[in-house]
Symmetry: C2
Subunit: 325 residues, 2 copies
């Protein structure tokens, strides 16, 4: 591996561009190549990769590429990641890693069989503020954790042709938005819920456009959240403890501010991003790949699998099934 880590990017849309922009804040990494089936003009103009492919297999086979970032729509993650892992290329793949647990299981097996790195780009988990929150929890600042509450509700364009309303593209609030409260709950509690309850409103296209869920953990802790494309909410996340609360300020999934409330006093913690927040997951992926790890200890295969299984359960409860499943 050369001194500079050379990234290939599959997909060239909005998220790929955010990734490439944040790469500029990562020392020792560069956007080396991009592959897009639908054209990458804007991406190329902005980030000037050395190589541009119009086929994914060519990129995956490029011997100069050290790792691949997958930024296509959810429904393609599985086949894109499989292609890369089969070619022996480390993978950082946008969340959700796949559209269901079955696909994730297959990728995890392939990663282990081929001894190739695989990580879900759940960027929240690598943010500096989340490390601060972890320390506050470890130091027992809020006592025993009892409940979590959050919203991820935005007013989205409700044109039926949009990606997030398309069953073919694995749309719905759960995979786009609800994944964050789920991932944070799992991260805070470090275990899997024993009780999952959810209700939703489905679009005319058949995906969830408003979803409310309660996750109850073995210890009794309940995590309650709502995700929505139809309305805007406060979009912070509170971890309620026996002695006090930690609030991850809006947007909690990309938070730079946390407030610790104990005994009527507030302490504010701030961890601004160097760039827009993807830089930390990039650094973690590079570190893991350079050290020959197959997964990140901060977002393990087991973590991703647990989240996917939870989302499968919730989709089953609310009646969202994708046509290709």
């Amino acid at each position: 591996m050369a001194e500079t880590f050379r990234w290939g990017v599959i997909g060239a849309g909005r998220i790929a561009q955010k990734f490439a922009r944040d790469m500029q804040a990562v020392e020792g990494s560069e956007i080396y190549a991009v592959a897009s089936r639908s054209g990458a003009q804007e991406f190329v103009k902005l980030f000037k990769p050395r190589v541009v492919y119009d086929s994914y297999p060519e990129l995956a086979e490029d011997p100069h590429v050290d790792g691949l970032y997958i930024a296509t729509t959810h429904n393609f993650h599985f086949e894109n990641a499989r292609l890369c892992l089969q070619a022996g290329k480390p993978v950082l793949c946008e969340k959700p890693l796949t559209v269901n647990a079955k696909q994730t299981e297959a990728l995890v097996q392939l990663s282990q069989k081929n001894q190739v790195f695989l990580m879900e780009a759940l960027w929240s988990r690598y943010l500096p503020l989340y490390q601060v929150v972890r320390e506050l929890l470890n130091e027992n600042e809020i006592g025993e954790v009892l409940a979590l509450q959050s919203t991820f509700c935005i007013r989205a364009n409700m044109d039926e042709k949009k990606r997030w309303l398309s069953p073919q593209l694995a749309g719905g609030t759960l995979l786009d938005l609800g994944i964050y409260p789920i991932a944070v709950s799992q991260w805070v509690l470090g275990e899997n819920p024993v009780g999952v309850q959810s209700q939703a409103v489905l679009s005319s296209t058949g995906v969830d456009i408003l979803l409310s869920a309660n996750l109850q953990y073995p210890s009794g802790v309940i995590s309650q959240f709502t995700s929505s494309f139809m309305h805007k909410a406060r979009n912070d996340l509170t971890i309620h403890g026996s002695k006090g609360n930690i609030i991850l300020k809006e947007p909690f999934w990309g938070a730079t501010t946390a407030v610790l409330e104990v005994g009527g006093q507030q302490r504010v913690f701030q961890e601004p991003f160097r760039s827009q927040g993807f830089e930390y997951q990039i650094e973690e992926a590079v570190r893991c790949i350079r050290e020959g790890e197959l997964e990140s200890p901060r977002m393990s295969h087991a973590d991703t699998l647990a989240n996917m299984r939870l989302m499968d359960t919730i989709r089953e409860q609310v009646g969202v099934k994708y046509p290709f499943e």
Copy 2:
């Protein structure tokens, strides 16, 4: 009926005292008598009722009493209210009206059979701010209502002998705290949920000390709330609409401030209490009784019954059964 409305009070504890204090802000009403089995010294000293009884039947039979307010613990509401209705005395009874729907049904039947007024003292419903919220909803300020979210979480004394932890006294967060988010949801939506989901943590005594629920209405609207004795939360209530939100500021159940958020703009509405907030329900009860009504149109028998049925369902889901049921 004399010009001044003469109230008799059953029970002389904290809530009875709040009622009597707020009476001072109600023109044409007075605390005429009190009855307490466990002594009413403090009440008598503070509010100087003309008559003090140590038996409830004597108070209920007092021909000078125009109406009775019941402020005993939940478990006694049914027998206290029945006594009053049988004596032909109008009843304003603390929430919850009874501990379950079966008891409420019996009281409603008795009220109708004996043609005597009966009203649940769910004080939120009569507050001036709630009328403002109703107008905002009627004027379609936030568009279509899509979701409600609220918490009623306090740090309570967890001594097992406390009333709120006692199954014999019908303790638990639901009947003390959860009744408010339920009542507000029902009031906003004017219909009954078709989906009820709840999870709880039970105390060693067997009552709910942390409870999270989702109520889904026929239109799809989801009301999500948590009630807790173990932790403090934000305790406001948000009505999310397609165009904007209305936030009833903490404590939402006794709110004097509402914030209307539309298009990035906020408008603040304030309706301070004349006293501590019970004065409005007292005025409504007196108005109804003077006009010969059997129920208040603002908190009808059907409303109370619907709330009780919902709470029965939730208690069944989380496994809270009182020993006397």
